[in-house]
Symmetry: C2
Subunit: 525 residues, 2 copies
């Protein structure tokens, strides 16, 4: 027996599904247990049971069908959980925050609606993946790059809405978004920014529009269903250079960050440079057993031996330079000089013509080519590999990076995990991404991962850091950390939520925002 | 006798002012006719009379005082019009959309709250002007640049909130904003983004925060009073190069734009390059009478003669390159080569060390130094010079730029004005700014300017273009142009407005957004 929406009897629920089937076609309403299991989060930390389970899935094919689905949902007060393609792995996948919600899977809406080569943008539907968009550009011979997220199967729309990021100068996906179409809970269809101009010319060119601007309000949000999204694409550069630097000492992190910051601030390095820890690098190559057979965290000696054997650094910096050869060579000379001053550092670069494609997985992402190599990490601990991510924002200073690293490492060791992490460089902040890799077949390890995440988030908050994104299981916990003036930010969100969605049908609990009708569910998992 | 709020008797109004005086001190409530005249818009197009007149001014000194003012305003349903310093010239200055509103002037709240040199940002109160912030940086010997708006007396906060722009790589002021404190109509104090973390570390470093993000919703908006604003500052570059190119032919505009676009897209040129028409260049030097004594628009022959005498171009491109000498020289060589291919083009550059300051006004703005030279243009037509701006967003293509230019020029000639305009380069759009310069002492010219603006806005809309910002007199007109799905965007704004400000006290009519209580005033000026 499937889980039901908490507020509906089975009879009422069946009646609602019948109405949904009449809208999208019976075949586009999914109820089979094994299919619904595919919408559960395969990486969920802690006990599974009935947490984050969908009661059914509905797959609309158009904006009109979405509007009709919303009409039914309002009539039944049926909670919906919209996903673009549901690949939000490590943060919940396709699973809903409130068990019993009906997943609205938008993957059938997968048209590339527009590509403009000279103005370098795309307008896509939510079902378009990085692989799809990349293939489209290649097929049409367009000299444009995408910036893929770590896993190429993800939705361009979904990733931008969750504020995911990649590796090229267009790596900040939320910032690169320009123009949205959103269906509100009441069925009203809004186009943001210049999209307000019907038959206009600048929807994907100028984001703010006239008056208040709303795009970021629909990110990590439950205020509407985004049905079209504009995304900037990078003109294929004349040339590019991918650099890799290895640093020998754990304590080098501080220096690396301090050297890197001015280059990000003055845009010598425009791409999203990444500082990877040794375990993260090693996990992209193979499982842990070849380095260590024990069950707890790898001892320092084993890590040191692994680093030596792999010829990698304790910290590994990767960055790309993109543009005219003479400019990027001048930039590289400056950057190389700066990092070479670090004792024991080695730096090297591979040079490519703009139309050349690297072979190695990591380099491919930095050249705008989607891959699936990110998931190799799942084999690190063996068994049914899963991971859940701790993702605090770190000020772009060596001291803060070192502090976040040491606290995380200490806690991870305490809970039996290796520090698997890295820092991706924004301009004034670092995305510190720490993955707790665990074997889902091991109940003890799964529980420990769950507990560890909570502790890591608490530690971060105590030091003045906050998460940028979090798994379903911790959304209320993190939202409560944004506590200035007794939670004024969440109060604002819920005021807007109630105004836009008085029936509380859209994604109750997303980002800790509960509509009035479901507010008593806060904190409950 | 001053104008009154339309919903209050004089007795009630006096009572409300009494309460406001008790909060801020009697001396900080201004009612004298001559002082209130200073809050009127000196550049208002069309008939003056009682349009856009304030009933009184209140000057709070703190967030607590603002909260108290809001309490009184809610009790009396007193409409307020908050301004940072009220220098929003060409778009209304300090004047309120709804006559009789009480201006809340935040100029006394003028503290620089924080500067971080290594992370390169400032946190300021709304009363801090570009001159103030520049002086602060110099006094403290900080190696940071500001990006001033055209007029240095403007508020850093106010300009960012109105989405103004400057000339350096930090020229997009709204994009450079990071973190706000906002007082909502109900008195609740919200900090956006990472500011939700009390005693946090990343409020001015990472804009989105966790969950929906609201900063752009408080821009060109009447949803709250912004009391603190974070703004990114540019680390002083090692060197910079200011280039100027002259183009001989009117039709060169198309080519200039096409050559410039790839350089903006690939960030060879990171600054806000500007393409200025001949009249705009000439008006920055002296009044029109030296070139033409007639009363209507300057004939082509007079413009041609002026261009020749001044040694300027029909179009004049200015841009800066900022960074390490070897990088900017490589970049300049590429750019120079490209523009030199245009027949008759001349391009030259002035080179500066990072700590050197240019002497000429235009160059100073491009080097992050605030000036007041922008107002020289007011003398162009003589008399009491005023201007009101037509500010459509233009797609970054030569064809669109040429179309916008020709339509504007034709209409301006028809209404008796010179085409005074230019294009400031974003990445995928151009800010086309056209100033209608008129002599306020000349009623016929003032009326013509008023009519012309409406026609220009209509013409633009018919071709699929929309305004990014507009004078009070046209806010409803422009908001109505954003008509997709029967005005869904404005419907969304007014739904949020009513949820956040049910009493309708904050800036009724701003950007065409009217709270429920004042909705019948839409379109009324």
């Amino acid at each position: 027996m499937n889980v039901l929406p908490p507020n509906l009897s089975e009879a009422r629920f069946r009646q609602a599904l019948g109405e949904l089937g009449a809208i999208v076609g019976r075949a586009q309403v999914l109820e089979a247990v094994d299919i619904l299991a595919g919408y559960a989060d395969p990486f969920a930390p802690g006990p599974q049971q009935q947490r984050f389970m969908t009661s059914a899935v509905v797959l609309p094919a158009s904006v009109d069908e979405i509007r009709e689905i919303l009409r039914v949902a309002r009539a039944y007060q049926l909670p919906l959980w919209p996903v673009s393609t549901g690949r939000n792995f490590a943060y919940g996948g396709a699973a809903p925050r409130l068990s019993g919600s009906v997943v609205v899977d938008l993957k059938r809406m997968n048209r590339v609606l527009e590509i403009n080569e000279s103005l370098a943008y795309a307008l896509v539907e939510p079902g378009v993946t990085y692989f799809d968009l990349y293939a489209y550009l290649r097929e049409h011979g367009l000299k444009l790059w995408i910036d893929p997220a770590a896993a190429g199967w993800g939705s361009v729309t979904g990733n931008a809405l969750e504020r995911g990021f990649g590796y090229t100068p267009y790596g900040d996906h939320a910032a690169m978004q320009c123009g949205m179409e959103v269906v509100l809970a009441n069925g009203d269809v809004v186009r943001t920014g210049m999209g307000g101009i019907e038959i206009g010319t600048t929807w994907q060119l100028y984001k703010p529009g006239f008056g208040p601007s709303y795009d970021p309000m629909f990110m990590q949000s439950n205020f509407g269903i985004v049905t079209k999204l504009g995304i900037a694409l990078m003109p294929r550069p004349a040339a590019y250079l991918l650099a890799q630097a290895r640093f020998s000492h754990e304590s080098d992190l501080e220096t690396i960050v301090e050297i890197l910051r001015p280059f990000k601030l003055d845009e010598t390095i425009r791409g999203h440079a990444v500082i990877e820890g040794a375990v993260r690098f090693a996990a992209s190559i193979g499982p842990r057993t070849q380095w260590y057979e024990g069950s707890g965290p790898m001892p320092e000696a084993a890590i040191a031996a692994m680093i030596k054997r792999l010829g990698i650094g304790h910290w590994n910096l990767r960055f790309g330079l993109y543009g005219a050869s003479e400019v990027i060579e001048a930039q590289y000379a400056i950057v190389q000089r700066a990092f070479s001053r670090v004792r024991g550092a080695e730096i090297e670069a591979r040079r490519y013509a703009g139309d050349a494609e690297p072979v190695a997985g990591g380099d491919r992402n930095m050249a705008g080519i989607p891959t699936m190599s990110a998931f190799r990490m799942l084999d690190w601990r063996g068994g049914s590999g899963a991971h859940v991510d701790f993702s605090p924002i770190c000020p772009f200073t060596g001291r803060d990076a070192m502090r976040q690293y040491l606290v995380a490492k200490t806690r991870m060791t305490e809970y039996g995990f290796d520090y698997y992490g890295g820092f991706t460089a924004g301009t004034r902040y670092l995305h510190h991404i720490v993955a707790t890799i665990f074997n889902r077949d091991d109940a003890q390890q799964t529980d420990a991962a769950s507990d560890l995440l909570r502790v890591l988030i608490s530690d971060a908050r105590a030091a003045g850091y906050g998460e940028y994104r979090v798994h379903l299981a911790y959304m209320d916990f993190v939202a409560a950390q944004y506590d200035f003036n007794n939670g004024a930010l969440l109060r604002l969100s819920e005021t807007i939520k109630d105004a836009l969605d008085p029936d509380g049908i859209l994604a109750p609990g997303k980002s800790g925002i509960w509509p009035r009708a479901w507010r008593s569910y806060r904190g409950y998992t």
